[in-house]
Symmetry: C2
Subunit: 464 residues, 2 copies
């Protein structure tokens, strides 16, 4: 595929010359995200500022069958924003306005290029709460969260991105612009295109406006770090906490290595961990009544004390809470700093976590790899970081793939699936046959065709 | 379309002779639901008992292009289960088993023909909670709830059916059987066919197994009935309660007539209502700590006391609570007993409720009809019962349709949509152009075609 000067000229006419880039540096910059070390630069980077401009771009791309990849903040972990077939890299960074915060209806209308943390803070200033908090929230775009159906630590109580998206403005490859639903909490009016669009990774349309449901802010929380002598017992404690009638606002699992690497990675954090500790649970409860939170915390203590644990660390101050969360959120970066790795985003019903963890370790032994596991255990969502360490490139590129396949087969056999919150994107699509039958994959392909008959939108993603 | 004896013989071979019915009585019985007075009997009623049997039936229907309408408990309010083009009426009543209640993962796997209340009680015995409670829950099927994305009084806090469906077993017209997702709380693995199926009213596939998320049961609640001198102030109070940071577990609006008719309809209910009262709010808060519920109730009182209200009635005993809920849940039947009527299921962002109510009344004046409004105001979901009363058949069939169109235009202009929880089915499909552009409707048609290229599944529904 070649982008000739005629097409570049048309693109410049649409967005203005200063928002079309063909230099190598810019193309490379927009050619990677946080997925391993992949770089797939687009042929041209275009930075539109309105749905109308995107509609014009898509019409041209559709006519000339040029791939178009929507690019957010490039924090994705499945390669969703990589221009694997080149074409037009559609940077959404100029869609950076929060259009309205509706305090009467507890809703926000935002453009997709707003940083999630910025959105959270803006609504927080009005006493409102957008709960979805991916680890990358300080830099990721809300549009990327919609594309990948991002989760985060608070999903266990508050749900994931899809649970907050009420309505989307979407540009289709034809240049038509639709709203997928209505700005209502309930909707039984035709097929749910809103939920079809969420998590579709930019393969069905380009999202240009997002209507999100908001909550009232909870005023208090209690945060505790529980060290377990046995990792499988930490996993068992997860479902036991729910069975005791508690719904924590966060319930995170961290293997020993994860916490060690994070502590090395961040300066000035002082958490003492005994050598015998295999795993930690980071547990938070939130609400408006501190005395009730203490009752909940005591119930949690009663549950975890049935297992072999060391002293529970309660975060007494806001600074201590921030430090613990920083530790948790730094794990991905810490792993990255330590070794080449592949990250899988397994998810199972939460009671199956001990079986999943045990299985992963035994698959690791079989194929000779070390893994560092952590994640949103309350949702049954375990991030598996497979470490290259001293493996040869040959082993890394062949044997490990077999091992990953076995991990996903195990996940699916436990009634789970391939990705809880990162999406399939480029790197997991070769495993889709494990989770879906041929019939099912064909349905997805045909749905893709309904929206995008020429296959221009983010080609080479999701479907094998 | 004629069902010849050869096809009947094949159907008998699949499900057994005793589960195929062509007599007029049975056909008429399965030819109506709770939607006005419509009767559209299928040519034949078939009662399969397994997904495999349904697969065989669909293969035949697909080959001979025979309509197939899945029929649940026929409590629907949009005509979703009516065999408007005849064909095979596929009664799901033999799919009446709860297959497993998973106390470890807080999930239930059920067949679709289980009565919603039966399911709620079965999980409740294990200390678990399935919160979705449509007014018809004592007789409707959970499968019908999935088909229409049913809501109910507790949706305001707990969400609607779609928020609990994790995974569905679905038979496609080809006879293929797929699971749409995984039994996990989070899922970013390909297009969300689960949510596409929920609310698709049996037009994309036949659901044969349902995996639902469950919650832990809350132990306490407080219920109060607040009489308002002005109906618009009752509507205004709704969003004010949320803005005060309260999330009630139910927040129901009832116009004066609704409550009067319900009180007439039910024997032995003694609620005294002053003549000047125009509307009531029925408000519930729930949780595990009675003292906190009292704090919440006091906050609610502070809010509603800013409006012109009469004495608040607190339900002190379980019997009083039951009586108030019985009153609320009997409104639909009471209206039905009073007059021929049409029910619309409007939904708007909740702060727009006063404008919606006012607009409905003024449209009623213009077209000369009386309306009785009530519903799940906390969700902005207002059921509008348009009363025939003394209108001529001529007026009823022409003028009223224009009036309904204006109501929906108003709803959509307030960022709302046609149906909050009843579905579009047969009776609202002619209004779909108000909510959706031609492009959007074409997308829905093409999605329908992906699943059902011969158009055999519940034809004549949803799409105009």
């Amino acid at each position: 595929m070649q982008l000739n000067s005629g097409i570049l000229f048309k693109l410049e006419n649409i967005v203005g010359q200063s928002f079309v880039f063909t230099d190598e540096e810019t193309r490379n910059h927009y050619g990677h995200d946080e997925t391993e070390d992949y770089v797939f630069p687009p042929h041209v980077v275009v930075k539109p500022s309105s749905a109308k401009e995107i509609a014009e771009i898509l019409k041209i791309a559709n006519q000339y069958k040029i791939p178009v990849v929507p690019i957010g903040a490039r924090t994705g972990l499945s390669g969703g924003a990589l221009s694997v077939q080149g074409g037009i890299g559609l940077s959404m960074e100029r869609f950076n306005k929060i259009l309205s915060i509706d305090e009467q209806n507890l809703q926000v209308i935002t453009e997709p290029g707003v940083i999630t943390q910025v959105l959270r803070e803006a609504v927080s200033e009005k006493g409102l709460f957008y709960p979805v908090d991916p680890s990358s929230m300080g830099s990721c775009f809300i549009g990327g969260n919609v594309a990948e159906n991002a989760g985060g630590a608070r999903a266990v109580k508050y749900g994931v991105t899809k649970d907050y998206v009420l309505n989307l403005e979407v540009v289709l490859p034809t240049g038509d612009i639709i709203w997928t639903g209505a700005n209502t909490l309930k909707n039984s009016t035709g097929y749910n295109l809103t939920q079809l669009m969420v998590g579709s990774e930019g393969t069905l349309g380009i999202v240009t406006k997002i209507v999100l449901k908001l909550l009232s802010k909870n005023t208090h929380n209690v945060l505790m770090l529980v060290p377990f002598y046995k990792a499988n017992e930490a996993c068992e404690a997860v479902s036991a906490i729910f069975r005791a009638g508690i719904v924590p606002s966060a319930l995170e699992f961290m293997e020993r290595d994860a916490i060690d690497w994070a502590l090395e990675f961040i300066e000035g954090l002082s958490v003492q961990v005994k050598p015998e500790i295999q795993a930690h649970l980071l547990i938070e409860v939130d609400g408006n009544y501190p005395e009730i939170l203490m009752v909940d915390a005591e119930k949690i203590m009663t549950v975890v004390e049935q297992f072999q644990i060391d002293d529970i660390l309660f975060a007494d101050t806001e600074d201590e809470k921030k430090a613990l969360w920083k530790m948790r959120r730094s794990i991905a970066e810490a792993v990255k700093a330590n070794s080449i790795y592949k990250e899988e985003d397994t998810v199972v019903p939460r009671y199956e976590l001990p079986k999943l963890l045990e299985g992963i370790k035994s698959i690791g032994k079989k194929y000779g790899f070390k893994s560092v596991c952590y994640g949103h255990a309350g949702d049954g969502n375990l991030h598996v970081n497979i470490i290259k360490g001293t493996l040869s490139d040959q082993e890394w590129n062949t044997e490990i793939t077999k091992g990953i396949r076995e991990i996903f087969e195990l996940t699916v056999s436990l009634n789970g699936t391939l990705s809880g919150e990162h999406g399939i994107g480029y790197v997991q699509k070769e495993y889709m046959d494990i989770a879906f039958s041929k019939t099912h994959l064909e349905l997805m392909e045909r749905i893709k065709f309904v929206f995008d008959p020429n296959g221009i939108l983010n080609p080479g993603k999701i479907l094998p």
